[in-house]
Amino acid sequence: MEEILQRLVKGALRRGALYADARGVRGYRAQHLTVKNGQAESLTWSREDGVGLRVLREGGWGFAGTTCLTPSGLGEVVRQANSLARAVGRVRKNPVPQTPEPSGPQDGSYETSLREDPFGVETAEKLSLLKEAESRLHGTPEIKVGRAHMNCRTFEKLFLSSEGWSYRIKLTFVGAGLEATAIGQGEVQRRSYPTSFGGDFAQSGFEFIRQMDLLGHSAEVGRTARDLLSAPSAPRGTLPVVLGSDQLALQVHESVGHATELDRVLGYEAGFAGTSFLKVKDRGQLRYGSPEMEIVADATIPGSIGSFPWDDEGVPSRRYPLVQEGLLVGFLTSRETAARIGDPRSGATMRADGPLRTPLIRMTNINLEPGDHSPEELLEEARDGLYMETNRSWSIDDRRLNFQFGCEVGRRIIKGELGPLVRNPLYSGMTPEFWSRLVARGDPTTWHLWGLPNCGKGQPGQTMDVGHGAPWGLFRDVQVGGPA
């Protein structure tokens, strides 16, 4: 693979590229296991090897990727990447600045730290765990659909640039989750564990899945789904709201993470993903939220799917603040976008979801730091309000301002304590206004670093692994109300 990458980069330079980098993925293996209602819904094993070449000419970027690692397939990659970069200049020249990074990896290497290789665990054992966990969801006849899933992925990525940087990393990701759908009384209700949309994910060995204790939680997941059928509707109005860690993580993702991506801020994603309400000049000026709001981008946290040693431009990963005491202080940047706003260094966020895609600015681990309130103190401070956790639906406008989130579970907060279950809770707001109402953050016991493997962005679309750490959070005067 190293020879292939060298050949691609040299080929690009020979054709007049100013810069080129090549990525190769080999030994990509993935296993997706889903058990639904006692049957195998999807037992899929996948394998993909491929390479991608990014070239920069005077006109702009060009990219080509292939799974055909034959001489003709590779020759086509060099030809197409260069042709496309030339086409940019024919339409309209787009000079691309790049930050002169002080250092990049020279034969760098890295491997996910794991205790138990997930591909060393027999499929029979994995399926046995899923089958048992899924069956325990069905403790009540109202559960019409039970689903237990597990994903394991591993791959080796090699990188080589015309600046002489190169690295080789081997990453392993695992994740799992449960889902029970109850139907009755004219309602359809779903409850997930540990969170929705596939569960929780980590850069880890199989020990992460063992620690999730799927068996220990499944019966309760089924019962809660059933109880939601007869629970009263969530209240409407303006209330104090406590968001659980998983929902607050998604709130960070949608209303801070995407909004601070500098390619969006600069308009490069307007056509599909959208832009941002933030402007470059807002950095250091705009009050994003209350002084309780402390958000960092940190790609160095061990064990998260949003962590990596070098990004797909070869820039070393790092940690830096995005929002400090409620003030916007940073953006997620690349070598190009950082240079466009005069920053000396890239924020090291460029990643592609595979060898056939060009790298884009992607979230790393975008975390709301924990505060000092215990859960009891948060509920006491809320006094009478609503607690919500586990996302059910999410939507936000194309500048990341107006949002509406629905959750699987709500509980009334009555006199400072968690009260009865309510169904179909949802809340809505405008981003800076909402964050200005953050009055307290939960302590580290409420903080969890969630792995989200399904962040979509780009044309063509890419699905990225990102991480979000969040505690519980108390917000004042939130607009809440169930669907029509």
Partner: protein, 475 residues
């Protein structure tokens, strides 16, 4: 049935439009099938895709990719199923994939009702139109069209920011199984969009959108699409209006978003058999206004025609909603067996994540009316003209209640005339309620699709009696 439908005709040999690839794909298919230890099926896909993306008024991050993918499904005698996919087409790669699929199958729970793999469908395969240049785009021509389009938009809007994308793809699919079924089919996909933003003092002050999809790259007509997007961009500041219920005229892009959810969350066999679809137990009942006749039409040449499904069965048109009455879910061989009915030949690939989705209609076609645009506005009378929705998600899947934002051309209409742009609104509404209130359909049809043509539609514009908007944003 409207539109041009090709006459099915018997194939008499390799399709000359595809040449060597046909042989190579067939060989890989046969090699993989020969390695299967028991029953199974195999899909071989060869794909070339190009994306020419415009951002900040320049061509930005253009992209080309070429891939081979094999999807192998094996079944044991007890009905245990395992699936493997691989990008490797050499013998070692095929053996590895078959081994892994079989290993997964051995451990899978037995499906006592697995009906086995289908035999080839009877009848001839339709010969559908194909544009081979979608696999190897004519970059010179496209560059000229893109440059001309940028010029048109800037001339119309003045200072502006232009975004857009052209997605061109050519895919070849070979399917075979151990029941001696062998089928293959080629498909070209051409999809383009323009987003035009008028700038005032450097800031976006109104945006417009236009998109089109079809099987031919040349039919995209990028300059005329650019003109249309520029015309939609508002020339005056948007006015806020309160959330509430309004009459709406939904343009094709907006309607495509809603019907996409109807497709995979409403009409698919999985949600219906499991009971959580809004259309569960509704077969034979009226769920939309009489004017709504929606078909799965994989032969519609105004859209993205496709000859075979992922099981290798010949796709064919069928009604989904006929005069507002739900005619039944999409089925593959397995779900049809469970429902004691016949496959509608709408199987999608068995591997994750598609496998979880199950069979769905992927070529929607809504019967048009006879109203032109002024007549649609006249029928709307007083209400909102919606161009496009953004970030649509299901709030309540069981009722098909969705939420999302309007975007890129939302206008207030009064007295049948467009009065002024309005600030964008969030809707929270049931797709079925919207279709129950369908009052008038446009005569004009256009093809829409996602960027890779997985889901496509041929749609007119639609006037709906009532649509609920739950909040608004500030632009």
């Amino acid at each position: 049935m409207r539109g041009f439908h090709p006459r099915p005709r018997r194939r008499t040999g390799p399709d000359p439009r595809r040449g060597r690839r046909t042989e190579e794909g067939s060989e890989i298919l046969e090699r993989a099938l020969s390695l299967l230890p028991g029953e199974g099926d195999v899909r071989v896909t060869q794909a070339s895709w190009t994306t020419l993306r415009v951002a900040n008024s320049v061509l930005y991050q253009p992209h080309f990719e070429q891939s081979w993918t094999l999807s192998i499904r094996v079944a044991t005698e007890e009905g245990r199923l395992g699936v493997a996919t691989t990008s490797r087409t050499d013998r070692e790669g095929l053996e590895e994939a078959v081994r892994e699929a079989h290993a997964a199958a051995r451990e899978a729970p037995a499906l006592s009702d697995f009906p086995g793999f289908p035999r080839a469908s009877s009848g001839p395969k339709p010969r559908l139109p194909l544009d081979p240049t979608c696999g190897k785009p004519e970059l010179d021509r496209l560059s000229r069209d893109l440059k001309a389009s940028l010029g048109i938009i800037e001339e119309k809007l003045g200072t502006s920011r232009i975004s857009g994308a052209v997605n061109l793809g050519l895919t070849h699919l070979w399917v075979g199984n151990t029941q001696d079924l062998r089928q293959d089919s080629s498909r070209s996909v051409a999809q383009a969009s323009w987003l035009t933003e008028r700038l005032a003092e450097g800031e976006p002050a109104g945006s417009g959108w236009a998109e089109r999809a079809g099987w031919s790259s040349r039919r995209l007509d990028l300059p005329s699409l650019a003109r249309e997007a520029a015309n939609i961009a508002p020339r005056s500041p948007a006015v806020p209006i309160p959330p509430g219920r309004y009459r709406v005229l939904l343009g094709g892009s907006a309607l495509f978003e809603l019907l996409s959810y109807l497709s995979w969350m409403g009409v698919g066999a999985h949600p219906i058999l499991e009971g959580w679809s809004a259309l569960a137990r509704q077969q034979g009942r009226r769920v939309a206004a009489r004017i709504v006749t929606l078909r799965e039409d994989p032969w519609d040449t105004q859209g993205l025609p496709e000859a075979i499904d992922a099981e290798g069965l010949l796709r064919k048109p069928r009604p989904i909603l006929r005069f507002g009455v739900f005619r039944g879910p999409s089925h593959d061989t397995f779900t049809a067996s469970r429902a004691s009915t016949r496959s509608t030949h709408e199987a999608i690939p068995p591997e994750a994540p598609y496998g979880n989705l199950g069979p769905i209609p992927r070529h929607l076609s809504l019967e048009p009316g006879d109203a032109d645009h002024p007549e649609l506005l006249q029928e709307l009378g007083r209400g909102l003209l919606i161009t496009r929705f953004h970030y649509v998600r299901a709030v309540h899947p069981g009722r098909l209640v969705l939420t999302g934002m309007t975007r890129d051309g939302t206008y207030w209409v009064e007295g049948g005339e467009v009065r002024h742009p309005v600030q964008n609104l969030r809707f929270t509404e049931s797709v079925l309620k919207a279709l129950e209130g369908a009052e008038l359909l446009g005569a004009g049809l256009r093809g829409y699709s996602d960027e890779r043509g997985f889901l496509s539609a041929v749609l007119p514009s639609l006037v709906c009696r009532s649509f609920r908007f739950s909040s608004r944003t500030t632009f």
